[in-house]
């Protein structure tokens, strides 16, 4: 009998070792919050996507190392990310976001290009809760696509990009105060790029509002290589200020041509997206004196810290676009922790709605340069500085914060 009991005990012990434990209920499994980045990772705009991804990885690593995000029931979840390539192509952007929406990603940060953001926001549900609108119900929080006014396309679209009209209005007003003797402005724009084009109109309006006479705008295309005709017209017009709304490749081409033809305006103003290291790498000496309003500069301890870590450990650059990724992830963390997100497979749709509603309620947050105000149209009003190209690097010319 004793032997039988001993055998039974042994059998039980063996069974305990061999039989797998009963499945853990889904709720008790380690939960994750899934945030997708979408940006250009191929093609000539690839640099923007690489920087956004580097900042996303850095920010999420920091948050996860600090314990992740707190969910509605008090458990802590790690953030999991992916980064999808939209190739600065509208169809591609829509395709990758539809795929992410069909999976269990809760929110998207991106895209890079305004020509992707505009149609992408168009496929989102226009008004929240509109049963007759079958658009995607998926929150998107843009970091880079900067063309003014895009978030109004859908109540699921949010942006944290510099507000260019505010920045350029301030810049031209400030230039007028500092240089009252300057009267005229000539402009140049790469007319086949959505952001450059819209920004030229912003610059034009801002210059006129500040009391400058705008002599006209010369145009070229994104992949043009020769600018002698356009610069020749500036040479003849002799404006006090030349405002160039173009990205680094053609910006550098025009600056070189200006040097060749001896066109020396008293001041040079550039496009927000050109306040980057790309411009310095392409034509630092020619860009000397170029003034650009920008939503990022390493002028606060936190901005300096983030820029340094991203550059050394994540091989990216923090600029006015990618800096927003850091801010967006922190805002999302705050929203997730305060809006009842559960991060369960069964609550994906509800969680997306909670994040959307939470984002809509945010009125301000701490950004890398200071307080960022959120506007009713789901856009940001961000602090900015006026940067100037000096000795092939960027320096702060004026800090209005």
């Amino acid at each position: 009998m004793k032997r039988l009991a001993r055998g039974a005990l042994l059998a039980l012990a063996l069974a305990a070792l061999v039989v797998p434990p009963a499945p853990v209920p889904a709720d008790a499994q380690e939960r994750v919050v899934k945030i997708a980045g979408v940006g250009a990772m191929t093609g000539v705009i690839r640099g923007f996507g690489i920087n956004s991804k580097a900042v996303l990885d850095m920010t999420v690593d920091e948050i996860n190392q600090a314990g992740g995000v707190k969910l509605a029931d008090g458990t802590r979840a790690k953030i999991v990310t992916t980064f999808a390539d939209e190739r600065c192509n509208a169809e591609e952007g829509i395709s990758v976001v539809r795929k992410l929406a069909s999976e269990d990603w809760l929110v998207v940060i991106g895209p890079t290009c305004s020509n992707v953001a505009e149609p992408l926001f168009g496929i989102l549900q226009r008004k929240v809760g509109d049963a007759g609108d079958s658009g995607l119900q998926f929150p998107i929080f843009s970091d880079t696509a900067i063309k003014p006014g895009l978030a109004k396309l859908s109540e699921w679209a949010f942006r944290n990009v510099p507000h260019e009209p505010t920045m350029y209005n301030h810049l031209f007003k400030w230039l007028k105060e500092k240089h009252p003797d300057l009267k005229t402005v000539s402009g140049g724009v790469e007319s086949d790029f959505a952001h450059s084009n819209s920004n030229s109109q912003t610059m034009d309006a801002a210059a006129k509002a500040a009391g400058f006479e705008v002599l006209g705008w010369e145009k070229w295309l994104l992949n043009d290589t020769e600018f002698s005709t356009q610069v020749g017209k500036w040479r003849r017009a002799k404006p006090d200020i030349i405002a160039i709304s173009s990205h680094p490749f053609t910006l550098c081409g025009t600056l070189r041509e200006m040097k060749r033809q001896g066109v020396k305006p008293r001041l040079l103003v550039g496009l927000t997206s050109s306040a980057t290291l790309e411009t310095m790498a392409g034509c630092g000496p020619e860009a000397e004196g170029l003034i650009i309003p920008t939503g990022f500069a390493p002028v606060t301890p936190e901005a300096e810290r983030v820029a340094k870590i991203v550059a050394t450990k994540y091989k990216g650059n923090v600029d006015l676009h990618s800096a927003a990724v850091y801010e967006n992830v922190h805002v999302l963390k705050q929203v997730i922790e305060t809006s009842g997100v559960e991060a369960k497979p069964a609550t994906v749709a509800q969680d997306r709605r909670r994040i959307r509603d939470g984002l809509a309620k945010v009125k301000e947050f701490d950004g890398l340069l200071g307080q960022v105000k959120r506007l009713d149209d789901r856009e940001s009003l961000k602090p900015y500085v006026f940067a100037v190209a000096k000795n092939s690097d960027w320096a702060v010319l004026f800090d209005p914060r």
């Binding site: 191929t42 290589t225 070189r256 790498a281």
Partner: protein, 294 residues
């Protein structure tokens, strides 16, 4: 002299000099077509990749422009050979479209490799002439464009000598005119084709390095314009005609500059393609090409 006349002449001057870059690219397209009767859409990106190779050597050695230039020429020649192997020799002969599509694939493949290697960022390219400008009375002459024009002339002269004064040139012309007869005479078709791809690749390398130095930057953005302008030049000049490509490149440069001056950027390319369309309808053989039936 009125400002208008001054500007018009200045545009002619600029267009003529810048057109030499179109001529060099056009020569590459037209030579390959002349010999193989096929288009190599990867030629423009070959020129660009050669220039990037030169830039790589520059970053590694900080060497003089001559070294950058020679690296661009040699590497573009090698890339040309790779394209000949992968997009033509290994392609099935029963599918005439296969090489065309393969070279299109090669165009985007190399372009993307360049974008990945550089993150798509423009990179400063050494410019031996700097921002030199020469005064020609009331007109300005860009030093780098003048330099490009002179080098282009030298390359064109060299090509002419190669085609008309060497055994390889004789073999190339024979293959171009009667490939079967040329083979029966003992000319190695594969060897001639490979040589043509290497030589045109080297011409592309010259063009890439000169365009890089004139633009001052390299960017993957350049590959499509080089391809399109090269093709337009080759068609306007007459596919297969080297002198035609030279004349058409210079003409195209002038037309573009004048169109830009008078009508603005929105019409510049429109006028270029209208010109192409007019040629295809009224003179399909191009300026100096073989006559084609209407």
């Amino acid at each position: 002299m009125s400002d208008l006349l001054l500007d018009v002449v200045q545009q002619v001057l600029n267009g003529f000099l810048f057109g030499s870059s179109y001529a060099l690219i056009g020569i590459g397209f037209t030579m390959i077509f002349g010999v193989m009767d096929k288009l190599n859409l990867g030629f423009g990106v070959t020129a660009l990749a050669g220039a990037y190779s030169g830039l790589l050597v520059f970053h590694l050695t900080r060497g003089p422009f001559v070294l950058v230039f020679l690296t661009a020429v040699v590497s573009a020649g090698l890339i040309g050979l790779v394209i000949e192997l992968t997009c033509f020799r290994w392609m099935p002969r029963d599918y005439p479209l296969a090489p065309l599509m393969a070279t299109m694939g090669m165009l985007f493949f190399i372009d993307e490799v360049l974008a990945h290697a550089t993150h798509g960022r423009p990179m400063a390219f050494p410019a031996p002439m700097g921002e030199l400008m020469m005064d020609l009375g009331p007109w300005l002459l860009r030093g780098d464009l003048g330099f490009m024009f002179l080098v282009s002339l030298a390359v064109m002269g060299g090509l002419w000598a190669l085609v008309y004064r060497t055994r390889l040139g004789l073999a190339t012309r024979a293959v171009s005119q009667q490939p079967v007869a040329a083979q029966l005479c003992g000319i190695g078709l594969r060897r001639v084709n490979a040589a043509v791809f290497v030589i045109t690749g080297m011409v592309g390398g010259v063009a890439g390095a000169l365009i890089g130095s004139a633009v001052g930057n390299l960017s993957p953005l350049l590959s499509l314009p080089l391809t399109v302008k090269g093709l337009v030049t080759a068609v306007l000049g007459g596919l297969g005609s080297i002198p035609g490509a030279i004349v058409a490149g210079l003409l195209l440069g002038i037309v573009e500059y004048e169109a830009l001056y008078f009508f603005g950027i929105g019409y510049r390319d429109m006028i270029t393609y209208l010109l192409l369309f007019a040629f295809l309808v009224f003179r399909p053989g191009g300026l100096l090409g073989r006559g084609a039936p209407h």
